[in-house]
Symmetry: C2
Subunit: 325 residues, 2 copies
Amino acid sequence: MKLLIIGGGGMIGQKLASRLATDDRLGKHEISELTLFDVVSPAGPAGAPFPVHLRTGDLSNVDEAQALVDQRPDVIFHLAAIVSGEAEEDFDKGYRINLNGTRHLLDAVCSIDGYLPRVVFTSSIAVFGAPFPDAIGDDFHTTPLTSYGTQKAIGELLLSDFSRRGMMDGIGIRLPTICVRPGRPNKAASGFFSNIIREPLAGAEAVLPVSEDVQHWHASPRSAVGFLLHAATIDAAAVGPRRNLTMPGIAVTVGEQIEALRTVAGDDVVGRIRHVTDEKISRMVSGWPRNFRADRATSLGFQADASFEQIIRAHIDDELGGTIG
Amino acid sequence: MKLLIIGGGGMIGQKLASRLATDDRLGKHEISELTLFDVVSPAGPAGAPFPVHLRTGDLSNVDEAQALVDQRPDVIFHLAAIVSGEAEEDFDKGYRINLNGTRHLLDAVCSIDGYLPRVVFTSSIAVFGAPFPDAIGDDFHTTPLTSYGTQKAIGELLLSDFSRRGMMDGIGIRLPTICVRPGRPNKAASGFFSNIIREPLAGAEAVLPVSEDVQHWHASPRSAVGFLLHAATIDAAAVGPRRNLTMPGIAVTVGEQIEALRTVAGDDVVGRIRHVTDEKISRMVSGWPRNFRADRATSLGFQADASFEQIIRAHIDDELGGTIG
């Protein structure tokens, strides 16, 4: 089975590649080769028992999208995106990559007769915009309040229509905010949800720019990789024509995040969080989802983390070698 | 006030132009000129007291979209679309006109600094796909089951995002199925809802391809023009960031349509309807919406027809000079 990860250099893409290298299979199928594509050269996973191809390019270039697809991967993971903050700052870039790039990819898939790959598209809870019910159900409308969310919602619609027409076999998964995101902060406006856990655990200060009563919807990187693998192997007939699924997650307030951190790591670590309100971020966050009922995805076998404490412990295990700084 | 109707040669475009010519104003503003644009040369409205420009072209051509917008109309009515049946038959044409064309238009508007026209976009209840609740509320998700519905749903998302960013001032209106549609049948799969009223009233036979218990959501051409005028003049602040509104209508079964026709025109006219089931159309229609609660639009002052009988009487007045054939 040939696999392609677009956005393979990103945090989730790299973790997915590592997991595939460890498993050496996807569902029932052995992996014959893996291609990682990104705008800058992605690293290959260590110790992969199958050939790994590393490619760089710009998905908004029609020819590059076509060249990737011409290799006829059996499963395409489309993770590439300009993140929310940057897509809001740079209107043209966001639409060029997140909308045009996605469309080029899907058009390229459809252009090959008899080729029907599974395409796993990472959408986002940013497809939803306030005001919200207490918990957003599976049939709540998508009225995004960011350009990023708009671009993801459009990608979902294309994926569904092209799949309905039998031109590809797509599954869209609306990822919760990924927490704890390892490494350095990226331009996602949601970065602070991870910063306030990751930085104190590493012995550094972190700034909390919003109030502690802000509630949000989280999944760990481990869960995100699990979602991707499940989406790649799930029976499309069980999913039906509504190909886009809100992934399960954990709804916690920032205050609850901090208390979980205190339980896991103690008062000193929590003391490294500084409260410095940022009005711009607070205003953006007030339009974000707080809680979901992800009934469809749960009934289809997608599994969330058990608690925010478990999310923190997974981060310590996976990123810090089990040690708190 | 300068006005532009894209799709000005279509049935609704022509009725809108006639109404504007009669009124000589839109809301509080006198009309200084009107441009009708369509793929084939549209007719100008009779007796217009302002200059009327007739233009032909292809909206999927970037330069044509830009040239239209460079005239800086104060209000743009974007009614142009490849209809549902044709967009389903011809994948490329549907996406080229309904998606690329709309995007070119909106991009052209955004490209002019300080230009903030009201853009009225006719969306459709085809943005919704089965299964449905008994009545579809304003926060039900858009999961279209046709490419046409997908293209309209994407247009809605772009309209909202571009309006939110202050690059235009858009209002999207989801039209019910327009009934009774005058003239000859077009390629819309929903054509039979009108055919079974219009043809018998004109002394001709009509084929009913679905069961009489099929329920659907209708508005007259008169109401549709009323929706467009209201959408062109409504205060955007009252609408808020959710710029796309399900228009009010009347939910009736085909059987109720036929009984209304009997009440208005008698048994002989009803006798001209032949029941010839078409499995393909029946299957398509089974995925269509049946009923709505259009609370937002109603509270914002959009007004539906009072009954299906009134819809039939309006057709007889407007199209048949008050006489039944």
